[in-house]
Symmetry: C2
Subunit: 305 residues, 2 copies
Amino acid sequence: MSLQLTILGCHSATPRVNAHPTSQLLQIKNHHFLIDCGEGTQVQMRKYKVSFAKIKHIFISHLHGDHFFGLIGLISTFGLLNRETKLHIYGPKGLREIMELQLAISQSRLAYPLIFHELHSEKSELIFEDKNVLVRTIPLKHRVYTNGFLFQEKKALRKLNSKVVATYPEIEICDYHNIKKGKDFVLKSGEIIKNEILTLDSPKPLSYAYCSDTSYAPEIVPIIKGVDLLYHEATFLEDRSELAKKTGHSTALEAGKIAKEAKVKLLILGHYSNRYRDLKAFQREAQEAFQNTILAIEGSTFEVT
Amino acid sequence: MSLQLTILGCHSATPRVNAHPTSQLLQIKNHHFLIDCGEGTQVQMRKYKVSFAKIKHIFISHLHGDHFFGLIGLISTFGLLNRETKLHIYGPKGLREIMELQLAISQSRLAYPLIFHELHSEKSELIFEDKNVLVRTIPLKHRVYTNGFLFQEKKALRKLNSKVVATYPEIEICDYHNIKKGKDFVLKSGEIIKNEILTLDSPKPLSYAYCSDTSYAPEIVPIIKGVDLLYHEATFLEDRSELAKKTGHSTALEAGKIAKEAKVKLLILGHYSNRYRDLKAFQREAQEAFQNTILAIEGSTFEVT
């Protein structure tokens, strides 16, 4: 069981050589989720060998250019590559209109279904669920309507302790599913065999919270409580805390405070302003509040097992 | 007097690492014209040290993504950089709607005037003129409404031959303008001093024709006749001439034929399909029709003096 996050871009605002705007690939269970899609993301995907075909779900946090200007290009490229697989896009209301207008005017006919899930709720909502994974929105505080996303593995069924089970000939294969779900087993004699004797706990489900862009928003803490990995924007350092407030962004220290309050395992910082040359300063500042902090670096991969 | 063309991207369709979609910078007289603006153009501009502030006119040939998906990012970046100078954009009808929708939904307020000149004529038309330069459309044959652009210097006034002029004390400074315009001078005695004695010819005005994307279209020859520099798309080689026809593109040989028929000075090929690894083959094929052919290469600059 593992969760893998690859940083395709982690800078804010205007794209530059080696300072690409936001995009990430999250591999969780059998999914390859793309999170945000700034200009140039498709080239970053090629550079870091991200399979285009495996992307079936794209999550867009908000409609500022550095988070979605690469989406129309990616959608078009999928079309040119004769994709046939459905593509689901989750993002704020308005995204569909922008994409469909461009496809219509350029007379692009996609051979694959493009399915928009437009978001407008101000409350956290479940936007994706299958048998392995849940995705919920994390309402953020920015200048425009913005969501972070919480990706959670579902807890797997308990594992049969086969050595123990083998000692009870009365337990048949058709009983296994109920036992894995946690039920005790009742022998014909009436004796109850407790589930914890028959099974082993399944691994703890992993979780990842993506929070960008946002002001310091302690109200998100209950939603992201205890996640294994938190990516939190840190556009500025405390030297520009007024600018952070004004523009709806966080400082590295504020990101550290959120990580601490939410008791996450690991904090990853990103969305750095181009004003700063020394990214290490972001790490140092966040560590004043939360020690286990690292920096997102383009092309780096973080794995949680 | 010189004209300088810098290739920011010269590949077709999907952007890749080191194979950027179309964009060019043309420096002609005091202008810095941007021609087409595929995804990633703003990063290419930074890479090749193109001054953002000097761009006041952008020309978009057509609304396929590889020619305009970088425009919204560039417009937004100009906004973030607090640009105040007017920006003129020339392109097909529909471009304005696409740009304005994205600016509105992202709540971007630009501090500079953005002026759209939407094109819909099927005939060549004059779309820009000042005292030094003319720009005309070149109607092309593609799958969607497409224009190439012809950039022409205006012929400068003739130069005074000051040594000769000095021998006629009757000629005063206030006469110079008429003489530079080509008029003869009449002495009080009634004697006529021919203009060609008093002046030297001004340099021949330079011209550049940009033709992408297009099928083989000999009907453009009269418009681009004798230009110093012709950029003509060559998406395919003759081995894929059927595909070229079907997709509204040209082969290298066809580009060579157009250059030959139009008697241009130099042909530059570009818009290569990603199917080809050996770009030299494009040059060789075009040279079967027109010897003076070179390849557009990302980052290269062509100067005509």
